[in-house]
Amino acid sequence: MMKNRKSNWALLAPMYVFTILFVALPILYMFLLSFLTRAEVWGVDFTFTLDNYKRIGEPLYLNTFVESLKLAFLSTLLVMLIGYPYGYFMARMSAVWKKRMLLLIMIPFWTSALIRLYGWIIVFRTNGVLDKLLMGLHITEEPLKLLYTYPAVVVGMVYSLLPFMILSVYSSAEKLDFTLAEAARDLGASSFKAFWTVSFKLTLPGLLSGVILSFIPSMGLFFIADILGGNKIVLVGSVIQEQLTKGRNQPFAAALSAVLMVLTTLMIRIYRKVTGTSELEGLV
């Protein structure tokens, strides 16, 4: 027993040390920054203030949070609908195909995100690949002007977040014993019922971590909206970037980031309460 506890600490040590030193400390520093005032030229003055948080209450900034939440919700939902079946089916493939698919789905994501987005621009742009295809098939009569619209941004978001969902669902569904579901079916349950009562319940942790892994970055992602949306949707991330660069206002940017962090955490907590997946305690 004694030995067991010791080995457990050995397992936890790297995580504890690394997280405290290189994550907790920098984040604490960020919180500290958010209560300070900006200096004349660069950096901060050590004068305590709550103004940075008060400023977030202005409709202009509140609105960027609403926009970010809206986009994150929509993207995560679509990612879930598309990615879950993919990961689930992948887990049911033969061992060789599993390995192949895992690489096949990741290869596109090893090239730069910017390059991939430019690829989408060429597809979506006026008289681009998609327009030519649709008009060639006589589905549409004239160019759609899809680029720099909300749907283009959503496509870009879903595309970028998809692997998080697929891989999460896959890695938890992979351990499933599919004979269980088959047994249920043999006992007279319908295909769907067998899936719902047996497989779905068992892959829920994977789905949950997939949702979290997609939702978390989607709140802060803004360069997709900038590139595919032509910068016309203002998200929290781009305000933070602007305040840090042109605005040279580190404290305000820190306050915005802190609120974003709290908001994201809150959303995930609510999500967990609603879905009743408390066994995943600790995963945010």
Partner: protein
Amino acid sequence: MKTKKWCFVYVGVITAITYIPILVTVVYSFNESKISSVWEGFSLKWYAELFQDRDLREALINSLILAVLSCFFAVIIGTSGALGMYKKKSRLNDAVGYISMLPIMIPEIILGMVFLSVFSLMGLPFGMVTLVIAHTTFCVPYVYSMVKARLVGMDKSLEEAALDLGASGVRVFFDVTLPLIAPAIWSGVMLAFAMSFDDVVISIFVTGPRVNTLPVKIYTKLKTGVTPEINALATLMLAITILLLIGAHLIGKKKNK
């Protein structure tokens, strides 16, 4: 058990869609024009420029080293952390697990700027060391959460049985636990590698004068415009990856015979 045909069809269609922008990139890497949205004819000039660009080559190598190292550390930290927390639940563990997820929760630019200040206060020299530390912070969450999700509801009795039979803790880990969680680790590494290999913003802040990474080189052509050279690079890397995969596959087949 037979996988139904339509499962394959669904997976196939989605996979094909994810390759659309990549294929466009490949095609446009042979474009004569500097403007990415206008086709002017076939040319290999971007490949020629690519091979002349010493900085870009060095940046590519740095990026690979960085991604591999960051993934390596993320696997150690994330996997052992998830295992340790799975074995014994506590409020403190939950808190640390939560904090480890924060780096992917806030925009990179603020994280980069905070890292810059904190690393400087710690006296760390800017360069590969700070890059690896910074990248590891956002690679850990992927490995950690994947392994964590895999462990939930996993049968503890296997491990206990092995321990009861007298196997040492280390052996149990390598013979029983690791094979069980390997798919999750591998999934985490795949994501972490992609994130590290593509990071610009954090890298700009924490790198030093001697180490440049590939995405930084690509994204900072702000003043003169991004050129199709990067399409050529992406195509080349895609080709290498696929060749290596085919090679590995053939070798594996031979062994199996």
